[in-house]
């Protein structure tokens, strides 16, 4: 009986060790991805800053839904395409569902295959984008803005994964449109704009929305990678603990079986002596 138990524990140790190897490999993969993607974060932030610089010089007077806010309200949920990153995707979808309950949006746009099942049965979902990018692209956010405009969206809120620090990534809400102009520029009046007219402002406000969405998608991607790294690290550590505990159990059972055999031998020898 003890032989069977020994084998059983040995098999469990083997299974946990191979699981540990997988989680360790996944942790290393996400670390490598983070290194690659993080280099681009500075560029993305700079791009957004320059866009904001331009936008802050313009006094928007154009009749555009993103400026006036006359039209449908929409919620954009930026999640993840892949799982194995702890509770990160489910926290985002939960935050989005709660926000929708409070504010009752007309339309919902969902980005990410992992969070899509939470919204599949929701009748307000206008479009679900699955496996659109490995790393967010500007083309994708342009597609998103085009879809919003064709559905007459004016008021937009975005739920995304905010990158607080390496250990904490939390869902956050950003109000994208209607655009809130900051009335603090004194230099804006000195500017010339080309082309003169509404077309310039229309293109600029759409470019602004695209840039902001791009940076939010990028931030969510970085949060996802860090969340995956953390959860895989935890899984590896847990696997180590389990292996340690199982090894102790294995040794105990082995020792017990040895003691048992010794007792049997000694008892047998004693019985023979007595004869």
């Amino acid at each position: 009986m003890s032989r069977g138990k020994l084998l059983q524990i040995k098999r469990r140790i083997g299974a946990t060790q191979s699981l540990k190897k997988i989680t360790k490999a996944m942790e290393m993969v996400s670390t490598a991805q983070i290194r690659k993607v993080e280099k681009r974060l500075g560029v993305v932030r700079e791009f957004l800053n320059e866009t904001k610089n331009i936008v802050s010089q313009v006094h928007f007077e154009v009749e555009h839904p993103f400026v006036t806010g006359n039209g449908q309200s929409a919620l954009i949920v930026i999640g993840t395409d892949m799982g194995l990153c702890g509770s990160f995707p489910s926290e985002i979808s939960r935050a989005a569902i709660n926000l929708d309950r409070r504010e009752n949006f007309d339309q919902i746009y969902v980005v990410g295959a992992k969070i899509a099942p939470s919204f599949k049965k929701n009748s307000k979902v206008a479009r679900i984008y699955e496996y659109e990018y490995e790393v967010p692209t500007f083309d994708f956010t342009q597609l998103l803005v085009t879809d919003m405009l064709s559905n007459n969206v004016a008021k937009t809120r975005v739920v995304y994964g905010k990158f607080k620090n390496k250990l904490a990534q939390i869902p956050d809400v950003f109000t994208l449109t209607p655009f809130n102009e900051q009335k603090n520029n004194e230099y804006g009046d000195r500017y010339e704009f080309e082309p003169v007219g509404a077309d310039f402002q229309v293109k600029l406000i759409e470019f602004y929305a695209t840039s902001v969405l791009f940076s939010l998608a990028f931030e969510t991607k970085i949060s996802e990678l860090y969340a995956r790294q953390n959860s895989m690290r935890n899984a590896t550590e847990n696997a180590e603990d389990v292996v340690k505990q199982l090894t102790i159990d294995y040794n105990k059972v082995r020792q017990a079986s040895i003691t048992q055999e010794l007792i049997e031998i000694v008892t047998g020898a004693d019985a023979l002596k007595e004869r």
Binding site: R40, I54, Q57, F138, E192, E194
Partner: protein
């Protein structure tokens, strides 16, 4: 004059530029040092940056140019690169289709 071309994927910086030439949606224009502030919508254009003894040319796709009046020029665009790096078929419709056509040796590209 300091010139920066900023895209979501990379940034190129140049200092001591004497002249920047580009095409907006209304036509070609050049920016000299200390030009009055302007924000203009760019067409798909080559941005030519002239230095004392040399020049740099980059092709940009769409976007805006921002000249702040203090010798800083920022070109904000979706994509940039050397003119020779750009595949013209990409802008003629389906880029994949044109690539397949060129691979099979058929020269015509249909939209």
């Amino acid at each position: 004059m300091k010139v920066r071309i900023v895209t979501p994927y990379r940034i190129a910086e140049f200092s001591d530029a004497k002249l920047v030439v580009f095409r907006t949606v209304e036509g070609e224009m050049g920016v000299l040092d200390k030009r009055a502030p302007i924000i203009a919508k760019l067409a798909i254009t080559d941005v030519r940056i002239e230095f004392e003894n040399s020049r740099e040319v980059y092709r940009v796709v769409d976007g805006f140019i921002h000249c702040d009046g203090n010798s800083n020029v920022v070109v904000l665009t979706e994509e940039m690169g050397r003119p020779e790096e750009f595949d013209p078929h990409k802008y003629l419709g389906n880029g994949v289709e044109s690539q397949q056509l060129s691979e099979t040796g058929s020269g015509t590209v249909t939209k």
